[in-house]
């Protein structure tokens, strides 16, 4: 039975977790966009260039900021978990 190797570098490990989570979010987002685009095209509701030239309202801007906050929280979950589990120094 070989001896368990020492843990990998903690900083790299943390970064890897964050990047992997981020990549997953990008993948989910891409699929959601693709699903919506297909639905809209199928219904004849979307013309080429309409997304590119869309103007965001104030209410929509607030909604999008909220979405970004949730995204950041999910992406940085590894760091949050680490902080939450830090040993009490005292």
């Amino acid at each position: 039975m070989p001896v368990k190797p020492p843990s990998h570098d903690q900083s790299s490990e943390r970064l890897t977790k964050i990047i992997f989570a981020l990549a997953e979010e990008v993948a989910v987002l891409s699929e959601r966009l693709l699903t919506q685009q297909k639905l809209l095209e199928r219904k004849g509701l979307l013309e080429p260039g309409e997304v590119q030239n869309y103007e965001v309202s104030d209410a929509e801007r607030a909604e999008r900021l909220g979405l970004h906050s949730e995204l950041i929280e999910r992406v940085l979950a590894a760091l949050k978990d680490e902080i939450d589990n830090l040993e009490d120094a005292s």
Partner: protein, 367 residues
């Protein structure tokens, strides 16, 4: 045949399905694209003797591989992918927890089969302290009298993993064992069957469906696995009797089964426990009875030292504490020591019907 759909499966919503597809793609890339590249890179760097064989010991190669920052980055990503795989299957299970627990309660009200839990059984310490293959909560997860999460996660994770590697999607593990039995002992028709270390019961139900007259029993140590397995079998309309028991001492009578099987159980057991399971099989079988244990085709004797090191990733980082204990086991000796005659033992590879994958089987027939 693929595994059957049933009401105890949590439904993955749009984003869950997207997450699951992403982790499958990531695991596929990490293991099928990057592992061969890591192998070739380390193979070029290792010193060789005059015959061209790698002369370094397992520990030397292990040190070399584990100290590489590229390997560490790959390993960290592979751990992240495994954890995200579980998270991706856990989301629908948590979302539907209430419906699934009600499914268990309803199944228990008027069952075809049965469920017998026994909290006093002996459970190996490692099964309480380690989340095997990083499954959240591990095999022993038990959050209350109706908790089915361990089983729901196990089946959902297994389904996703099988899709990713294309194994078990055309012929299930139980179907392979049944086909092996028909080829090895033609005409053998068991009246009483036991599935050892049945987990979520995916391999228990096919026996009840295939051998329609047979009395099918299944054991495992995990209560959450067994509650789910019971509800799953009831949802499929198949009669199986599930019992919480250790495979080394099941509590059934001597000579009370015609067929005892296990699927991916050996690699979750220490070598002593594997031998204990074989001895228990011998005790449980009637004269002429057969035991068949199916597992992954991981045999260190057929692998180079570097391949052994790379395959050891699961033991070190994927919480498979008995991975190398399984890969170096001698099932032939275990079966003979248990009482089976060497002439009535088969230990070796057995191919899936579509020839895309070969399983490792260890079988014996009691005189």
């Amino acid at each position: 045949m693929t595994e059957k759909e049933h009401e105890m499966l949590a439904v993955a919503e749009h984003d869950d399905a997207a997450r699951q597809r992403f982790v499958l793609a990531a695991k596929g890339y990490l293991n099928r694209q990057l592992v061969p590249r890591l192998h070739d890179a380390f193979d070029r760097q290792l010193s060789r003797d005059e015959s061209g064989a790698v002369s370094a010991s397992f520990d030397t190669v292990l040190d070399r591989v584990h100290s590489s920052s590229a390997y560490q980055a790959w390993s960290s990503l592979n751990v992240a992918a495994q954890n995200h795989m579980w998270e991706a299957v856990k989301r629908p299970v948590v979302r539907e927890q209430q419906r699934l627990e009600q499914g268990f309660s309803a199944a228990s009200a008027a069952p075809r089969g049965s469920l017998t839990l026994n909290a006093d059984i002996e459970v190996p310490d490692v099964m309480r302290s380690v989340d095997v293959h990083l499954q959240p909560g591990g095999y022993m997860l038990d959050q209350g009298p109706n908790d089915i999460q361990a089983g729901a996660l196990y089946e959902a994770g297994g389904r996703l993993y099988s899709q990713g590697i294309g194994v078990g999607t055309r012929e299930t593990k139980a179907e392979i064992v049944i086909r092996f039995l028909s080829e090895w002992r033609p005409g053998f028709y068991p009246g009483r069957i036991l599935d050892m270390a049945c987990s979520a019961g995916q391999s228990s139900t096919p026996y009840a469906a295939h051998f329609a007259d047979a009395d099918v029993h299944a054991v495992d140590i995990g209560p959450g696995l067994l509650r789910y397995a019971h509800a799953r079998a009831e949802a499929l309309g198949v009669t199986v009797h599930f019992h919480q028991a250790n495979v080394e001492s099941t509590g059934f009578d001597d000579a009370s089964f015609d067929l005892v099987v296990s699927h991916n159980a050996m690699h979750e057991l220490s070598q002593a426990a594997q031998a204990g399971m074989m001895a228990e099989c011998y005790r449980l079988l009637r004269p002429g009875g057969v035991c068949i244990h199916l597992d992954v085709p991981l045999r260190f004797e057929h692998l180079s030292t570097l391949q052994q090191v790379l395959y050891s990733w699961d033991e070190f980082f994927n919480n498979e504490p008995f991975w190398s204990a399984y890969a170096t086991n001698d099932a032939q000796t275990m079966l003979v020591d248990a009482g089976f005659a060497a002439a009535d033992v088969f230990v070796g590879p057995f191919e899936q019907a579509d020839k895309t994958f070969s399983w490792h089987l260890a079988a014996g027939q009691k005189p």
